[in-house]
Symmetry: C2
Subunit: 230 residues, 2 copies
DNA sequence: TCAAAAGTGTTCTCCCTACACCCATGG
DNA sequence: CCATGGGTGTAGGGAGAACACTTTTGA
């Protein structure tokens, strides 16, 4: 099999990227998986990803593969770990640089060009290809740590949302429960939420108050160094 | 230049590891650098590191290169980021998987087999090779975040230490100042420190109380999920 | 009519913070 | 004798946690 055209003095591993896409909806936290159409692991579910080209860096590669395989462009993509086990890919030595993406699932559902892409609730993940189950565990841990430092709601919630959605997001990601009033007080005290006053709110009505994130205050607070407790 | 023996159908980048070694002493936080003896960047200082072999994973590679180039075995090594800029290495497309190591500098100084390895205070870093200045910045950020979740003193301080050493460590890493008594109170309340009672301590004497980390309580707390505030 | 979601305040406790004086040692 | 380092306690304020009832709507 000497059809290769690229020759090196020392052996080199293949380099791929994989992307764990988190979405959030009324049914909690989900990840987007694609069904593999070819061996190895044909028929298994896996994260979108693929081989890195020589003229692109890893993040560009992750975004490209994400769009090619699922049809969606993620606003937010972040590298969280690189997996290098010697035998993690039966085709030969391959390392993967793993990213997680946060997307507003509400704006994405139905926009899947790839017919074989599907959302799975985080508590209901099928058998995954390669070492992707391990990658998922590490991604979840990274997301849980991240949520302490940054309001991931920026990326996971619609632009306008109600407090219970935000609370559900935190409860889903961290797998805990909060008191409704205490959660709202704490969040509001941070000063990164702005109440949306579209005139539709009347106290004593069932409609909940709507909020948006105030990116300016968030950036300001972040530059001074802050941490969300929870 | 067709002397290479390894041929592939698609081009592949070189894969290296680099290791940012943090040490802590009475002069604050330091990193260990080696002076490059060959081009490119001959004469510049750089982190120890090198090419990954096909039968080792990246952490094994990082530890191996660390020992080969500085003569020291690090207890604690952790991957923190992978750098993939297309032109980060003038010799050709190369990605590096970066680790940081925490070592007890007190037990290391003088054990340098590599004559060209040298400690530099974090505030006094020379010009670095490749993109290593960026790698250092990212490593420092990772260390600062880590210190919030885990008592890095386990790895950076001698087994037995006094409270002011621990406080200096936190102040060096985070670049802040704490009140002596408040810092001690907070630390002791965590329950991960054990006072060493070697009989030499008498209150009202100049000698400070000595402590060790209690790894058992730490592991217990960590499994329940805790965070150091500061 | 019943369940689910949302509005609304107070109290108590604990933790964090700020702060001053004395003693012992070594130079 | 003075500079350094270390031991020791308290008071006040702020933030977190616990907690119940009413209203509306949709099933």
């Amino acid at each position: 099999m000497n059809k290769g055209k690229y020759t090196y003095e020392y052996p080199r591993p293949s380099v791929t990227t994989d992307c764990v896409i988190f979405g959030f909806g009324s049914d909690g936290l989900s990840v987007l998986l694609i069904e593999r159409g070819i061996e190895p692991f044909k028929g298994c579910w896996a994260f979108p990803g693929g081989f890195m080209k020589m003229d692109e860096d890893a993040e560009t590669c992750a975004r490209r593969e994400l769009e090619e395989e699922t049809g969606l462009k993620a606003d937010y993509v972040e590298q969280f770990a690189t997996f290098t086990d010697v035998d993690r890919d039966p085709r030969g030595r391959t390392i993967t640089i793993a990213y997680f993406a946060l997307v507003k699932k509400a704006e994405v559902t139905g926009a899947d060009d790839a017919a074989q892409a599907k959302w799975f609730r985080i508590s209901d993940i099928p058998q995954l290809a390669f070492d992707h189950d391990r990658i998922l565990r590490v991604a979840l841990k990274a997301l849980r740590e991240k949520i302490h430092f940054e309001p991931v709601g920026f990326e996971l919630l619609p632009d306008v949302f109600v407090m219970s959605q935000l609370q559900n997001l935190y409860e889903s990601v961290l797998d805990v429960k909060f008191d409704r009033r205490n959660f709202a007080n704490k969040m509001l005290k941070l000063g990164i939420l702005t109440e949306v006053n579209d005139g539709s709110f009347r106290p004593g009505t069932r409609d909940a108050k709507k909020y948006t994130f105030n990116k300016d205050s968030y950036m300001l607070m972040k530059s001074k160094g802050f941490r969300l407790e929870f």
